[in-house]
């Protein structure tokens, strides 16, 4: 049995969890096991989970907020009851805060931030990106069991399976926590950068924060999230949570559009795993063009308004 932790928000299973579910289903298929989901009560959508390849769902009752020790208890007790071989999590903010803790508590291995697996010498091996996107590493568990956290956008969501889902309750007693939640602030109506499929990012080439209007317009037209280079966030032109790169966040969207960003190695470190990169820069020697799939060389102040116009026409 491969057990996947499913998180939901406002009754919807999170995209990062759907991705973990797809990974778990494919892994279960390759090892001849069954993929099952663990979810906090009330959010099971059987059709959706069946399409992702989940065959059985276990629902537990929990408060809205659990700290990392409480989450670990949930997984530990589910493990004791279900005895899965592999436990799959998303390596999103929750996965990062509990992955290592679960591994220690269950005395098992953890392979984190995985983007792919394959079978080699009759056991699964797992691939992750290392050295800031400049290399990959394949890891294996010493025994045929362990914990895997899947990189957001690293694997993909594949709702093409057709399983019948059975749902049942699982009894988990959650101890009182050591952490008190005082506030949770979520950006309203915006897709978190790590979950965005398309990202429009801009750098110092924009010259002034007031010029971001056209960038936001482009992002709106493409239904994309916005990001920026570090100097732009440091100067306070854009909020810090938009900063991508070695010292910001690492993302792996389907399409990354870089506008007026030179493509310094520290910037690339956070974005070079993107599936498609489009670069708009006036300098033909800008290093970003070497990492790009599509490039437009020219003045962004002319190109972006024209591109927005062309997109509006195409809609």
């Amino acid at each position: 049995m491969v057990l996947v932790l499913l998180e939901h928000k406002d009754g919807e299973i999170k995209k990062s969890s759907k991705e973990a579910a797809s990974f778990a289903a494919d892994l279960a298929m390759s090892t001849g096991e069954k993929a099952v989901g663990l979810i906090a009560g009330g959010a099971t959508n059987s059709n959706e989970l069946g399409a992702l390849g989940i065959e059985e769902i276990f629902e537990f009752e929990a408060a809205d907020y659990l700290d990392s020790q409480q989450w670990t208890q949930v997984i530990e007790q589910a493990y004791q009851k279900l005895q899965p071989t592999f436990i799959v999590l998303s390596n999103n903010s929750l996965g990062k805060s509990i992955g290592g803790r679960i591994a220690v508590r269950l005395n098992k291995g953890l392979i984190s931030n995985v983007i792919q697996f394959k079978s080699e010498e009759s056991k699964p091996i797992f691939r992750k990106s290392v050295y800031s996107g400049k290399a990959f590493a394949w890891y294996a568990f010493q025994s045929n069991e362990g914990i895997i956290s899947v990189m957001p956008h690293g694997y993909g969501v594949f709702p093409n399976k057709n399983k019948q889902v059975t749902a049942s309750k699982i009894d988990i007693s959650i101890p009182s926590g050591n952490v008190k939640l005082k506030e949770r602030n979520l950006l309203k109506g915006k897709t978190p950068l790590t979950e965005a499929d398309i990202v429009v990012s801009a750098g110092r080439g924009l010259k002034d924060p007031s010029n971001w209007k056209m960038i936001e317009e482009l992002a709106d037209l493409l239904n994309a999230a916005t990001a920026c280079s570090r100097p732009v966030a440091d100067a306070g032109w854009r909020p810090h949570y938009e900063h991508v790169g070695q010292t910001g966040i690492a993302i792996r969207p389907n399409v990354y559009i870089a506008i007026g960003i030179s493509g310094a190695i520290q910037h690339l470190a956070g974005v070079n795993n993107s599936k498609n990169i489009v670069v708009i820069n006036k300098d033909p020697e800008a290093p970003f063009f070497k990492a790009a799939d599509y490039g437009i060389c020219g003045d962004l102040f002319e190109i972006i308004p024209k591109l927005n116009e062309a997109l509006r026409r195409a809609k």
């Binding site: 091996i125 990959f136 294996a140 050591n178 499929d197 070695q246």
Partner: protein, 246 residues
Amino acid sequence: MRLLVCISKTPDTTSKIRFDADSKNFIEEGVQFILNPYDEWYSLVRAIEIRESIGGQVDVIHVGNTSSDILIRKALAIGADAAFRIEDEASNSTSVAYQIAEFVKSHPYDIVFVGKETIDHNGSEVGSKLAAFLNLPFVSFCNHLEITNNIAVCSMEIDGGNEIIELNIPFVLSAAKGLAEQRIPNMKGIIDAKKKPLNVIAKVNVENHSELVRFETPAAKSGVRMIDPDKLDEMVDIFKNELKII
């Protein structure tokens, strides 16, 4: 307040990444190592700021061999009071976390800081494993920390926002951008650092449950396709028919 900052070394991002013939080992020769930026810029500086405002002791700990001493001295020059080095290869996150936990069990601290990840393996594993070995709460991706009367109020980065939480000491924290501002060591710091204690501790072994199969370098991009800035309809066409995003 007793504060411990875990520091790791990592290749500078501009380093050339090479592996040996059987793709199992990273070639360190010719590589410039730096203190992991999350440890140096955020963890260490915030710990020093806390000492400056409410008093206490800031120690740093590192798992590695003597070649790291120069980096440990830098942490002392920035303002740590004393350093500990566990004489072992930092071969995996379990062993690093376990050995630091063993040290902390005999030298209790109020807050143990790690960086949110190292910039080489980007694993983000040591902090949560360390917290588990110590059976302490873990504040992950902390970008703001205030302490009053042994109660901490922290802001944690979560997907698409942040959470403000409150908890008592002791705990383990992983530092993210925003927790503090980088400090450059000054001349006095560098001179003082030479006199500060750097204690070497013997290693302890622990079982690891996963192993590296091999490294791999990515295939080179096939080359960029340039689009004429006067023919942006072509870009729109690519969005529509190749990338299928509109």
